[in-house]
Protein backbone atom coordinates (compact mmCIF):
# COMPACT_ATOMS: atom_id res chain seq x y z
CA UNK A 1 0.00 0.00 0.00
CA UNK A 2 1.40 3.37 -1.00
CA UNK A 3 2.17 5.98 1.61
CA UNK A 4 -0.74 8.35 2.29
CA UNK A 5 -0.29 11.87 0.95
CA UNK A 6 -0.60 14.79 3.35
CA UNK A 7 -3.23 17.48 2.83
CA UNK A 8 -0.88 20.03 1.30
CA UNK A 9 0.53 17.55 -1.17
CA UNK A 10 -2.97 16.49 -2.24
CA UNK A 11 -4.16 20.07 -2.74
CA UNK A 12 -1.04 21.15 -4.64
CA UNK A 13 -1.32 18.11 -6.87
CA UNK A 14 -5.01 18.72 -7.53
CA UNK A 15 -4.42 22.35 -8.44
CA UNK A 16 -1.84 21.40 -11.06
CA UNK A 17 -4.71 20.07 -13.15
CA UNK A 18 -4.95 17.28 -15.72
CA UNK A 19 -3.60 13.91 -14.68
CA UNK A 20 -2.26 15.41 -11.47
CA UNK A 21 -5.80 16.31 -10.43
CA UNK A 22 -6.92 12.78 -11.16
CA UNK A 23 -4.15 11.34 -9.01
CA UNK A 24 -4.91 13.74 -6.18
CA UNK A 25 -8.60 12.96 -6.25
CA UNK A 26 -7.99 9.22 -6.32
CA UNK A 27 -5.70 9.66 -3.31
CA UNK A 28 -8.49 11.48 -1.49
CA UNK A 29 -10.99 8.71 -2.15
CA UNK A 30 -8.42 6.05 -1.29
CA UNK A 31 -7.48 7.69 2.02
CA UNK A 32 -10.84 9.00 3.16
CA UNK A 33 -13.48 7.10 1.18
CA UNK A 34 -14.01 4.31 3.69
CA UNK A 35 -14.28 6.63 6.68
CA UNK A 36 -16.74 8.86 4.84
CA UNK A 37 -18.77 5.88 3.68
CA UNK A 38 -18.91 4.45 7.20
CA UNK A 39 -19.98 7.82 8.59
CA UNK A 40 -22.74 8.17 6.01
CA UNK A 41 -23.96 4.60 6.14
CA UNK A 42 -24.15 4.65 9.93
CA UNK A 43 -26.84 7.33 9.57
CA UNK A 44 -28.42 6.30 6.28
CA UNK A 45 -28.54 2.60 7.23
CA UNK A 46 -28.71 1.54 3.59
CA UNK A 47 -26.02 1.02 0.94
CA UNK A 48 -27.92 2.58 -1.97
CA UNK A 49 -28.62 5.77 -0.08
CA UNK A 50 -25.09 5.86 1.31
CA UNK A 51 -23.75 5.40 -2.23
CA UNK A 52 -25.81 8.30 -3.57
CA UNK A 53 -24.81 10.57 -0.71
CA UNK A 54 -21.13 9.67 -0.94
CA UNK A 55 -21.15 10.35 -4.67
CA UNK A 56 -22.67 13.79 -4.07
CA UNK A 57 -20.14 14.47 -1.35
CA UNK A 58 -17.24 13.56 -3.61
CA UNK A 59 -18.61 15.71 -6.41
CA UNK A 60 -18.77 18.65 -4.03
CA UNK A 61 -15.24 17.92 -2.85
CA UNK A 62 -14.00 17.83 -6.46
CA UNK A 63 -15.76 21.05 -7.38
CA UNK A 64 -14.79 23.00 -4.28
CA UNK A 65 -11.29 21.76 -3.63
CA UNK A 66 -9.68 24.65 -5.57
CA UNK A 67 -11.33 27.05 -3.10
CA UNK A 68 -10.26 25.04 -0.04
CA UNK A 69 -8.02 27.36 1.97
CA UNK A 70 -6.54 24.78 4.30
CA UNK A 71 -7.86 26.51 7.43
CA UNK A 72 -8.79 23.08 8.76
CA UNK A 73 -7.62 19.58 7.98
CA UNK A 74 -8.87 18.23 4.66
CA UNK A 75 -10.77 15.45 6.39
CA UNK A 76 -12.48 17.90 8.78
CA UNK A 77 -13.72 19.82 5.75
CA UNK A 78 -14.96 16.65 4.04
CA UNK A 79 -16.55 15.36 7.24
CA UNK A 80 -18.59 18.60 7.40
CA UNK A 81 -19.71 18.20 3.79
CA UNK A 82 -20.64 14.55 4.39
CA UNK A 83 -22.56 15.29 7.57
CA UNK A 84 -24.60 18.07 5.96
CA UNK A 85 -25.20 16.11 2.79
CA UNK A 86 -26.37 13.03 4.70
CA UNK A 87 -28.78 14.88 6.95
CA UNK A 88 -30.11 17.01 4.08
CA UNK A 89 -30.64 13.99 1.86
CA UNK A 90 -32.49 12.03 4.51
CA UNK A 91 -34.59 15.04 5.41
CA UNK A 92 -35.43 15.80 1.78
CA UNK A 93 -36.14 12.37 0.44
CA UNK A 94 -37.81 10.73 3.41
CA UNK A 95 -37.38 7.62 1.38
CA UNK A 96 -36.27 5.31 4.11
CA UNK A 97 -39.77 3.98 4.39
CA UNK A 98 -40.00 0.89 2.22
CA UNK A 99 -36.22 0.56 1.92
CA UNK A 100 -34.37 -2.36 3.42
CA UNK A 101 -32.45 -0.95 6.34
CA UNK A 102 -29.26 -2.28 7.86
CA UNK A 103 -29.40 -3.98 11.18
CA UNK A 104 -28.96 -1.49 14.07
CA UNK A 105 -25.40 -0.27 14.46
CA UNK A 106 -25.54 -0.97 18.21
CA UNK A 107 -26.42 -3.96 20.30
CA UNK A 108 -27.40 -3.75 23.95
CA UNK A 109 -25.67 -5.82 26.58
CA UNK A 110 -27.67 -6.84 29.60
CA UNK A 111 -27.03 -5.16 32.95
CA UNK A 112 -28.18 -1.58 32.53
CA UNK A 113 -31.78 -1.30 33.66
CA UNK A 114 -32.50 1.82 31.56
CA UNK A 115 -31.05 0.33 28.41
CA UNK A 116 -32.72 -3.02 29.08
CA UNK A 117 -36.08 -1.38 28.56
CA UNK A 118 -35.29 -0.17 25.05
CA UNK A 119 -34.42 -1.67 21.67
CA UNK A 120 -31.18 -1.69 19.64
CA UNK A 121 -32.97 0.26 16.87
CA UNK A 122 -34.01 3.01 19.24
CA UNK A 123 -30.63 3.27 20.95
CA UNK A 124 -28.85 3.32 17.55
CA UNK A 125 -31.06 6.09 16.20
CA UNK A 126 -30.78 8.06 19.41
CA UNK A 127 -27.00 7.80 19.41
CA UNK A 128 -26.85 9.13 15.84
CA UNK A 129 -29.19 11.93 16.82
CA UNK A 130 -26.94 12.73 19.77
CA UNK A 131 -23.83 12.79 17.56
CA UNK A 132 -25.59 15.13 15.12
CA UNK A 133 -26.29 17.52 18.00
CA UNK A 134 -22.62 17.74 19.02
CA UNK A 135 -20.24 20.52 18.04
CA UNK A 136 -18.50 19.55 14.82
CA UNK A 137 -15.07 18.84 16.30
CA UNK A 138 -16.47 16.61 19.04
CA UNK A 139 -18.66 14.75 16.58
CA UNK A 140 -15.71 14.26 14.27
CA UNK A 141 -13.43 12.94 16.99
CA UNK A 142 -16.19 10.67 18.28
CA UNK A 143 -16.72 9.27 14.78
CA UNK A 144 -13.06 8.49 14.28
CA UNK A 145 -12.37 7.17 17.78
CA UNK A 146 -15.55 5.28 18.58
CA UNK A 147 -16.72 3.98 15.20
CA UNK A 148 -13.47 3.85 13.24
CA UNK A 149 -11.41 2.87 16.30
CA UNK A 150 -8.43 4.91 15.16
CA UNK A 151 -5.60 5.59 17.59
CA UNK A 152 -5.22 9.10 18.93
CA UNK A 153 -1.88 9.41 17.17
CA UNK A 154 -3.55 8.64 13.84
CA UNK A 155 -6.43 11.04 14.46
CA UNK A 156 -3.93 13.66 15.51
CA UNK A 157 -2.23 13.43 12.12
CA UNK A 158 -5.49 13.53 10.22
CA UNK A 159 -6.99 16.42 12.09
CA UNK A 160 -3.78 18.28 12.91
CA UNK A 161 -4.81 18.41 16.55
CA UNK A 162 -2.83 17.44 19.65
CA UNK A 163 -3.64 14.11 21.27
CA UNK A 164 -4.53 15.86 24.53
CA UNK A 165 -7.12 17.99 22.79
CA UNK A 166 -8.51 14.92 21.05
CA UNK A 167 -8.88 13.06 24.34
CA UNK A 168 -10.72 16.01 25.84
CA UNK A 169 -12.98 16.23 22.82
CA UNK A 170 -13.76 12.53 22.96
CA UNK A 171 -14.47 12.63 26.70
CA UNK A 172 -16.89 15.58 26.30
CA UNK A 173 -18.56 13.95 23.35
CA UNK A 174 -19.22 10.74 25.28
CA UNK A 175 -20.60 12.65 28.25
CA UNK A 176 -23.00 14.66 26.10
CA UNK A 177 -24.16 11.60 24.19
CA UNK A 178 -24.82 9.73 27.42
CA UNK A 179 -26.85 12.62 28.81
CA UNK A 180 -28.76 12.89 25.55
CA UNK A 181 -29.66 9.19 25.55
CA UNK A 182 -30.68 9.12 29.22
CA UNK A 183 -32.82 12.22 28.79
CA UNK A 184 -34.51 10.65 25.82
CA UNK A 185 -35.17 7.40 27.65
CA UNK A 186 -36.45 9.10 30.79
CA UNK A 187 -39.10 10.99 28.85
Amino acid sequence: MSKPLDDKHIIDLFNRGGKHSDLAFKAIVSQFGEVLYSQIRGIAKNHEIANDVLQNVLIKVYQNLPEFKGDSALYTWMYRIARNETLNTLEKEKRRAGVDLDAPILEIKAGHSVLDSTTPEFISDTLQEAVASLPEKQALVFQLKYFEELKYSEISKRLKTSEGALKANFHHAKQKIQEFILNKLNH
Binding site: V29, S30, Y37, R41, Q55, L58, E107, L115, L127
Partner: protein, 167 residues
Protein backbone atom coordinates in the same frame (compact mmCIF):
# COMPACT_ATOMS: atom_id res chain seq x y z
CA UNK B 1 -27.51 3.40 40.63
CA UNK B 2 -27.86 2.28 37.04
CA UNK B 3 -27.83 5.78 35.54
CA UNK B 4 -24.35 6.35 36.98
CA UNK B 5 -22.99 3.44 34.95
CA UNK B 6 -21.33 4.33 31.68
CA UNK B 7 -23.81 3.57 28.91
CA UNK B 8 -20.94 2.82 26.55
CA UNK B 9 -20.04 -0.17 28.69
CA UNK B 10 -23.42 -1.68 27.83
CA UNK B 11 -23.63 -1.05 24.13
CA UNK B 12 -21.67 -2.82 21.50
CA UNK B 13 -21.01 -1.67 17.93
CA UNK B 14 -22.01 -3.82 15.05
CA UNK B 15 -19.59 -3.84 12.15
CA UNK B 16 -20.86 -2.00 9.09
CA UNK B 17 -20.61 -3.92 5.82
CA UNK B 18 -18.00 -2.07 3.81
CA UNK B 19 -17.73 -2.21 0.01
CA UNK B 20 -14.44 -3.47 -1.41
CA UNK B 21 -11.59 -1.38 -2.78
CA UNK B 22 -12.85 -1.66 -6.37
CA UNK B 23 -16.04 0.16 -5.35
CA UNK B 24 -14.07 3.19 -4.17
CA UNK B 25 -11.78 3.12 -7.20
CA UNK B 26 -14.76 3.06 -9.56
CA UNK B 27 -16.51 5.78 -7.60
CA UNK B 28 -13.47 8.05 -7.81
CA UNK B 29 -13.15 7.45 -11.54
CA UNK B 30 -16.85 8.07 -12.22
CA UNK B 31 -16.74 11.38 -10.32
CA UNK B 32 -13.62 12.43 -12.25
CA UNK B 33 -15.26 11.52 -15.57
CA UNK B 34 -18.50 13.32 -14.75
CA UNK B 35 -16.69 16.46 -13.70
CA UNK B 36 -14.35 16.52 -16.67
CA UNK B 37 -17.25 16.70 -19.07
CA UNK B 38 -18.82 19.49 -17.07
CA UNK B 39 -16.11 21.86 -15.99
CA UNK B 40 -13.91 22.18 -19.07
CA UNK B 41 -13.83 25.94 -19.68
CA UNK B 42 -15.63 27.07 -22.83
CA UNK B 43 -12.52 28.48 -24.46
CA UNK B 44 -10.72 25.17 -24.02
CA UNK B 45 -13.31 23.12 -25.86
CA UNK B 46 -12.09 22.41 -29.43
CA UNK B 47 -15.60 21.73 -30.67
CA UNK B 48 -16.64 25.19 -29.50
CA UNK B 49 -13.83 26.81 -31.43
CA UNK B 50 -14.64 24.91 -34.59
CA UNK B 51 -18.33 25.74 -34.28
CA UNK B 52 -17.65 29.39 -33.57
CA UNK B 53 -15.32 29.78 -36.56
CA UNK B 54 -17.74 27.94 -38.85
CA UNK B 55 -20.61 30.14 -37.72
CA UNK B 56 -18.58 33.32 -38.23
CA UNK B 57 -17.56 32.29 -41.77
CA UNK B 58 -21.15 31.36 -42.60
CA UNK B 59 -22.48 34.70 -41.42
CA UNK B 60 -19.76 36.54 -43.36
CA UNK B 61 -20.69 34.78 -46.60
CA UNK B 62 -24.40 35.25 -46.11
CA UNK B 63 -24.02 38.95 -45.49
CA UNK B 64 -21.51 39.74 -48.21
CA UNK B 65 -21.90 37.28 -51.04
CA UNK B 66 -25.12 35.41 -50.95
CA UNK B 67 -27.47 38.15 -52.21
CA UNK B 68 -25.60 41.38 -52.79
CA UNK B 69 -28.58 42.94 -54.60
CA UNK B 70 -30.56 42.99 -51.39
CA UNK B 71 -27.98 44.88 -49.46
CA UNK B 72 -28.73 48.55 -49.00
CA UNK B 73 -25.76 50.77 -49.79
CA UNK B 74 -25.62 54.52 -49.20
CA UNK B 75 -26.04 55.21 -52.92
CA UNK B 76 -29.35 53.31 -52.88
CA UNK B 77 -30.82 55.19 -49.99
CA UNK B 78 -33.74 57.42 -50.92
CA UNK B 79 -33.18 61.09 -50.28
CA UNK B 80 -36.13 63.28 -49.33
CA UNK B 81 -35.12 65.64 -52.10
CA UNK B 82 -35.65 62.94 -54.71
CA UNK B 83 -39.39 62.82 -54.07
CA UNK B 84 -41.43 65.06 -56.32
CA UNK B 85 -44.12 67.37 -55.01
CA UNK B 86 -46.76 65.36 -56.89
CA UNK B 87 -45.65 62.15 -55.22
CA UNK B 88 -45.74 63.81 -51.83
CA UNK B 89 -49.22 65.21 -52.40
CA UNK B 90 -50.47 61.88 -53.70
CA UNK B 91 -49.08 60.16 -50.60
CA UNK B 92 -50.69 62.69 -48.28
CA UNK B 93 -53.97 62.45 -50.16
CA UNK B 94 -54.01 58.65 -49.85
CA UNK B 95 -52.99 58.65 -46.23
CA UNK B 96 -54.72 61.74 -44.96
CA UNK B 97 -56.36 59.75 -42.19
CA UNK B 98 -52.91 58.99 -40.78
CA UNK B 99 -52.17 62.64 -40.19
CA UNK B 100 -53.65 64.52 -37.31
CA UNK B 101 -53.83 68.26 -36.88
CA UNK B 102 -51.39 68.35 -34.00
CA UNK B 103 -48.77 66.53 -36.02
CA UNK B 104 -49.16 68.87 -38.99
CA UNK B 105 -49.09 71.91 -36.71
CA UNK B 106 -45.92 70.62 -35.08
CA UNK B 107 -43.99 70.49 -38.34
CA UNK B 108 -45.58 73.28 -40.38
CA UNK B 109 -45.76 76.88 -39.04
CA UNK B 110 -49.33 78.21 -38.85
CA UNK B 111 -48.67 81.21 -41.13
CA UNK B 112 -47.17 79.03 -43.80
CA UNK B 113 -50.07 76.59 -43.43
CA UNK B 114 -52.65 79.34 -43.98
CA UNK B 115 -50.79 80.63 -47.02
CA UNK B 116 -50.57 77.11 -48.43
CA UNK B 117 -54.27 76.55 -47.80
CA UNK B 118 -55.28 79.73 -49.61
CA UNK B 119 -52.99 78.97 -52.52
CA UNK B 120 -54.35 75.43 -52.72
CA UNK B 121 -57.94 76.68 -52.59
CA UNK B 122 -57.33 79.15 -55.42
CA UNK B 123 -55.64 76.49 -57.49
CA UNK B 124 -58.54 74.08 -57.04
CA UNK B 125 -61.10 76.75 -58.02
CA UNK B 126 -59.17 77.65 -61.15
CA UNK B 127 -58.65 74.02 -62.08
CA UNK B 128 -62.30 73.08 -61.83
CA UNK B 129 -63.46 76.36 -63.46
CA UNK B 130 -66.11 76.77 -60.87
CA UNK B 131 -67.65 80.24 -60.48
CA UNK B 132 -67.07 81.85 -57.16
CA UNK B 133 -70.05 81.32 -54.82
CA UNK B 134 -70.58 85.07 -54.55
CA UNK B 135 -71.42 85.30 -58.31
CA UNK B 136 -74.42 82.95 -58.03
CA UNK B 137 -77.77 84.78 -57.44
CA UNK B 138 -81.41 83.87 -58.00
CA UNK B 139 -81.46 86.26 -60.93
CA UNK B 140 -78.97 84.10 -62.76
CA UNK B 141 -81.15 81.01 -62.41
CA UNK B 142 -83.97 80.48 -64.80
CA UNK B 143 -87.40 79.17 -63.81
CA UNK B 144 -86.79 76.02 -65.83
CA UNK B 145 -83.63 75.30 -63.85
CA UNK B 146 -85.56 75.70 -60.59
CA UNK B 147 -88.30 73.33 -61.73
CA UNK B 148 -85.75 70.84 -62.99
CA UNK B 149 -84.01 70.93 -59.59
CA UNK B 150 -87.27 70.39 -57.73
CA UNK B 151 -88.17 67.47 -59.99
CA UNK B 152 -84.78 65.93 -59.39
CA UNK B 153 -85.37 66.20 -55.66
CA UNK B 154 -88.85 64.55 -55.95
CA UNK B 155 -90.47 67.61 -54.53
CA UNK B 156 -94.20 67.19 -53.76
CA UNK B 157 -95.96 70.23 -55.26
CA UNK B 158 -99.20 69.55 -53.28
CA UNK B 159 -97.35 70.81 -50.20
CA UNK B 160 -97.37 74.23 -51.80
CA UNK B 161 -101.16 74.58 -51.95
CA UNK B 162 -101.35 75.91 -48.39
CA UNK B 163 -98.25 77.99 -48.68
CA UNK B 164 -99.55 81.26 -50.15
CA UNK B 165 -96.42 83.07 -49.45
CA UNK B 166 -94.28 80.78 -51.57
CA UNK B 167 -93.42 82.21 -55.02
Amino acid sequence: MNEEKDIFDFIEKRKIDMPDKAYFDNLAQSVIDSQKTKIIPLYKRPITWVSAVAAAVLVFFIVNFNNPGDIVTPSDEISFNDISKEELLAYVDENIDEFDIEMIAEFVPVDELNAKYEALENTMIEDEEVDPIESITLENITKEEILEYLNDEDFDFSDLEDEDSFI
